[in-house]
C-alpha cells in the first residue's frame, strides 16, 4: 500500500514536472540548503550557549531569536525536503542512509522539544541534563546534515 502511494506521488504531474525541470529542481534544492543552514546555523550557537559557553550573554534574548530562526529553517527544510523526496520517493525509501536520517530527525526533534520544555520550567540556572541535551542536539543535527549529504553520494 505504501509502495503504491509512493509510485503515485512520483507520477503526480507537479512532481513529474519538478523531476524533469532544468531550473526548478536546483532552486528547490538551494532552498533546502538554506533551510538547513538556518536550522544548523542557529541551533549550534544556541546549544553552545546552553552547554555553558559565553556565560556573560543572557540566554533569553538569544533563545527568542535563535529558536525561531531554527524553527523557520526546519519548516523550510521540511517542505523542500518533501518535494525533493517526492521526485524519487521509491528510491529514497530503500536508502538506509535516508531512513537513518529520518530517524535521526525524529530523535533530534524530540530532544529539541525536551530541552525547550525543561528550560522553560527552570528559569535562571541551566540544569546539567539540559546542557547534555544541548550537546546531544549539536551532534544529532550535524548527524542529520551529514547523513543527508551522504544520501546523494551512495
Amino acid at each position: 500500500m505504501i509502495a503504491e502511494a509512493l509510485v503515485s506521488v512520483e507520477a503526480w504531474a507537479p512532481i513529474v514536472a519538478l523531476r524533469n525541470s532544468v531550473l526548478a529542481y536546483p532552486i528547490v534544492n538551494a532552498a533546502h540548503v538554506l533551510g538547513v543552514a538556518l536550522l544548523v546555523g542557529s541551533i549550534v550557537p544556541l546549544d553552545l550557549r546552553l552547554a555553558g559557553l559565553w556565560r556573560s550573554i543572557a540566554i533569553e534574548p538569544l533563545w527568542r531569536v535563535l529558536s525561531r530562526t531554527a524553527g523557520a529553517g526546519f519548516v523550510l527544510a521540511l517542505m523542500t525536503g518533501l518535494l525533493l523526496f517526492a521526485t524519487r520517493a521509491t528510491e529514497y525509501v530503500e536508502s538506509t542512509l535516508f531512513l537513518g536520517k529520518l530517524g535521526l530527525i525524529v530523535v533530534a526533534g524530540l530532544n529539541a522539544i525536551w530541552v525547550s520544555r525543561r528550560l522553560g520550567s527552570t528559569p535562571g540556572r541551566i540544569p546539567p541534563p539540559v546542557r547534555r541535551g544541548a550537546v546531544a542536539s549539536i551532534v544529532l543535527w550535524l548527524g542529520v546534515l551529514l547523513l543527508g549529504r551522504l544520501v546523494g553520494y551512495f
Binding site: 523531476r19 524533469n20 529542481y25 550537546v135 550535524l142
Partner: protein, 130 residues
C-alpha cells in the same frame, strides 16, 4: 572556551568525530567513486528513470543488467539525448567510467550513442580517438 572544562572537551571530541566521518563521502556525485579507465557497454534498454538529480538507464549486457548513469535534464538536453531515444527495448552504447565499488554494475556515461548518433554528456571527458 576553557579546554579544561570536561563538558567542553566532550563537545570538541563529538564535533571532531563528526568531521572525521566526512571523508566517507567519496561520491556518487562527481567522479571519485568511478574508475579512471574508459569502458564501453552495449545493450538493450530494460528500464529508464530520467530526471533530477540525474537519469539512470538500465541496459542488458549479455544477460547482465548494468545501470548507465546519464545526466540531469539540461545535460541530456544539451547533448540531444531525449526520452524518445531512451525507450524500453532500444539499443544504446555507453562510454564512461565504471564504479569501483565491489558488486556494483554502474557506469557513469560521458557519451551515449543511440540511433541518432553520439550524445556527448561530458565532451571534455570523451577520449579523442573516435
Amino acid at each position: 572556551m576553557s579546554p579544561r572544562n570536561p563538558a567542553h572537551m566532550r563537545l570538541i571530541v563529538a564535533l571532531l568525530l563528526c568531521i572525521g566521518l566526512v571523508p566517507l563521502a567519496s561520491g556518487h556525485h562527481g567522479w571519485g567513486w568511478a574508475s579512471d579507465e574508459i569502458t564501453e557497454l552495449t545493450g538493450e534498454i530494460v528500464d529508464v528513470r530520467l530526471g533530477n538529480p540525474h537519469g539512470e538507464v538500465d541496459i542488458d549486457v549479455g544477460g547482465e543488467t548494468w545501470t548507465v548513469e546519464v545526466g540531469q535534464p539540461w545535460r541530456n538536453e544539451r547533448s540531444g539525448l531525449t526520452a524518445e531515444l531512451l525507450e524500453f527495448g532500444n539499443e544504446i552504447k555507453a562510454l564512461g567510467h565504471v564504479s569501483n565499488r565491489e558488486g556494483e554494475q554502474l557506469l557513469k556515461a560521458v557519451r551515449v550513442t543511440t540511433r541518432e548518433g553520439h550524445h556527448d554528456l561530458y565532451p571534455d571527458r570523451v577520449p579523442d580517438s573516435d
